[in-house]
Symmetry: C4
């Protein structure tokens, strides 16, 4: 996430979607890396998606066309408007993620959010179908203290859906359940959506949501009361991790782009 504009690396490069012209190449690489990082950390399976708000045009966000996250390359990234429609006619025939409304509708109502991850985070799912609340016990997951409300799609769309967020209306309902403060909204029988002020922090939060779920499951198996973080601890830790997430990000990004480069050479 580079504040300095380097014109030579603008996205007019060969193979990129015309919709991302003017976007820093570094941000596109960040988004490619984020997809691959979360797949390699087993937060994303062959589904799920990651987006980042365009820093130069906050009414747009960048996301891959509809492919498995671990396959994403720079040429798959395109820009959508906040109604989750392509901003450039060249992209109109591309297959888009059917659940992209998760991203657009959250960006509309959460000006503090610049990145969204939607995943089937494997140990989070069991917390969406039981009564236990996902709460922060590990300091890295202090952001869970901002709340992790559960979206029950039956309340919006009845008892016969495929649980997916396939319309703008369902996206709006999900964004409403996320609310003004929370970093995570759980989705019953489906997974979660995680938001953050930056892409590295969204990746960090998506990962530690899964880790906290695993550790909370273990603590429940051990038995007895769990000594969760206090609200104040969670807030202090969440703030600290906004900065601390730079460290894993540097490691993960480097490895992801190295693997991508090796893959390209095969």
């Amino acid at each position: 996430m580079n504040a300095i504009i380097r014109p030579a690396r603008r996205s007019a490069a060969k193979g990129l979607s015309a919709s991302v012209a003017g976007v820093e190449r570094e941000l596109i690489d960040d988004l490619v890396a984020a997809n691959r990082i979360l797949a390699s950390l087993n937060v994303l399976d062959a589904f799920g998606h990651v987006s980042v708000r365009d820093p130069k045009n906050p009414k747009r966000y960048l996301i891959s066309r509809s492919i498995a996250p671990e396959s994403v390359t720079a040429s798959d990234i395109l820009a959508l408007d906040l109604d989750s429609q392509p901003v450039h006619p060249d992209d109109e025939n591309k297959l888009l993620y059917r659940e992209r409304f998760i991203h657009g509708e959250i960006y509309k109502v959460r000006a503090d959010v610049n990145s969204v991850v939607h995943s089937h985070s494997p140990t989070v799912v069991p917390f969406t179908v039981t009564r236990a609340k996902l709460r922060p016990l590990l300091h890295n997951a202090g952001f869970l203290g901002l709340g992790a409300p559960l979206f029950e799609i039956r309340k919006s769309a009845g008892h016969g859906t495929d649980l997916m967020i396939l319309t703008p209306e369902l996206g709006k309902d999900l964004a409403r359940k996320l609310g003004k403060e929370a970093a995570v909204v759980l989705m019953r029988g489906h997974g979660d959506s995680v938001v953050a002020p930056s892409l590295p922090n969204a990746v960090f939060r998506a990962y530690y949501t899964e880790i906290n779920a695993r550790q909370q499951l273990a603590a429940i198996s051990i038995g007895g009361p769990i000594n969760f973080m206090t609200k104040a601890e969670a807030m202090t830790a969440s703030d600290a991790m906004l900065r601390a997430s730079a460290r894993p990000w540097a490691l993960w990004r480097k490895k992801a782009l190295q693997n991508l480069s090796e893959e390209a050479q095969r």
Copy 2:
């Protein structure tokens, strides 16, 4: 799974079984990939098998000779009739999977089924020896809402077998327990058999049966009632996943065949 016949890639190629002459090479590669995918996803161990019905001759199915799934190459694939016997004399001396009747007997009675996976899916096995029913909680596993009946071999063959389906009669009993609708039949102390209208979908279902079992185990450990999918949700999701399984399939197939190609170059 290619509808267009490309004569140049017919299976008369060097090293292939004569029994698959006339089968599209792409389908053979699909089956090789399916074996390797499910091994790399830890659904298949060194045992288990995957088959696909011959689209040009529905009274035949394709399956590997008896080797570990992650070793399968195109030259191991052969065609069997629905009595699970080789259709070509060249294959008569090959070692066949002893439990191949699982496949043939299911194809006989389930015209809607074009692919079968039999595995020792590790987290499914515990659900075959306990009273908890495997039920869909993750939307990807909606197909479990079609039922996941338990085959108890003691009812067919008494209390002293090795639990394996070694005869046509046991295959018929298993197919009967699977019934007209279910996508999965659990096999006590052994694993499961998963069926689907297509090979990519069978791979998808075998994988998400294991994932749903893991998440159901976690939900049980969390405690309290589990908010399973409704029957209508399961049906809607199952239909949606018939199409959605194309995405993981594209990713998995590419990786499996790339690894195979690298292996061949060593």
Copy 3:
């Protein structure tokens, strides 16, 4: 495990211990592979050991000198007598596994046993410190129906040992606890020792002991009575697996020796 003597591949080869002169090279490679297989399957950590009885001299067994199993190469293999002492003066200064008496004392009293694996099998250990009995529920683990008695070292050596089998006497006590029939003896707070009529079968049994322990743990977490295999089922399955273990062995051995060969070229 080759019955035909091929003189050209005798062990006089450069770098091998003089104590294995006359042993088929294929058997030495089998033992190297077995060490590496069980390490890659996470049954062995950096400790543990695998042995095979010398088929030409049943009063001797082959085992590595004291190094981590995944590092073992052919030149590390040496022959010990059944008192677990080197049979050749060249090996007298080599560091030997301190717990090698496990192997020698079992070979003394179990003429049916031709291979022994001692490991800290990670999910078996919890079954050595709780009252639940490890019992066969997966057909591959039918051999557990031969019994899996628990060796409590406190009964032999009091309450202050390091739990290790450091003397011939402790080895004898362990072999006595194993008894005349069992394939596995559990060692409290330590791991297990697994025996079999052949090396491939010992590797198979060591692996499926761990897998059955994982599945039994999951079944316990699911709750309610567990439908274990009957004694007759266990015996039938155990017999069937004596033959069936050839399939994973072929796969695992090939991969292990391929990795060894690539390692040697680096």
Copy 4:
């Protein structure tokens, strides 16, 4: 850990911090390896740190600058004094681990300690937020019999911290809770700090603390009383493992430095 001084490999080499001049290169490589080993064993995530006391100047310790452990190379290692401040002006602008006081304050009060590992050991964390005590059940983890007290940061710094050891005072409180004998101090909602007389043994203890936690969690899930090691067994085993840790260390170090070397060539 080499007692012989080899002048040609002194740390004046290109790229090393001036603060480590005079330190054996082998010790620096040991520390690099230790970081990478514990990351590959999943004891360390992208956070955590490993240090070793300077054998020639016990008022100093060596530790990496603030980067993810699996990225550490020799040029990242620097020397700090026991107040955890850089000993050489060249390092004053380097980013240091904010929690480095854990190391310095323990070295001040524990003359027997020559190495410290701080980690977010994933299965240890649940034992820091529940009432179950982490106790030795596996012989490799006998050192837990020396005690594994729980540091509750709320007692030192109130209910609103980020749980991190960011000041010398908190480091002193943690060292006090560790006490005169224990090998491990648990840190509520955070992880643990493990100490040992040598770097290989600290790596060994950090790993087997995690393994014992996993096995204790499994034993709790199995249910009923757990047959933990007696105090005398724990002491005997802990002593034995001081020597036995050389075996995994040799394996792990070799692999870590080989990977580092391959990484450098890419």
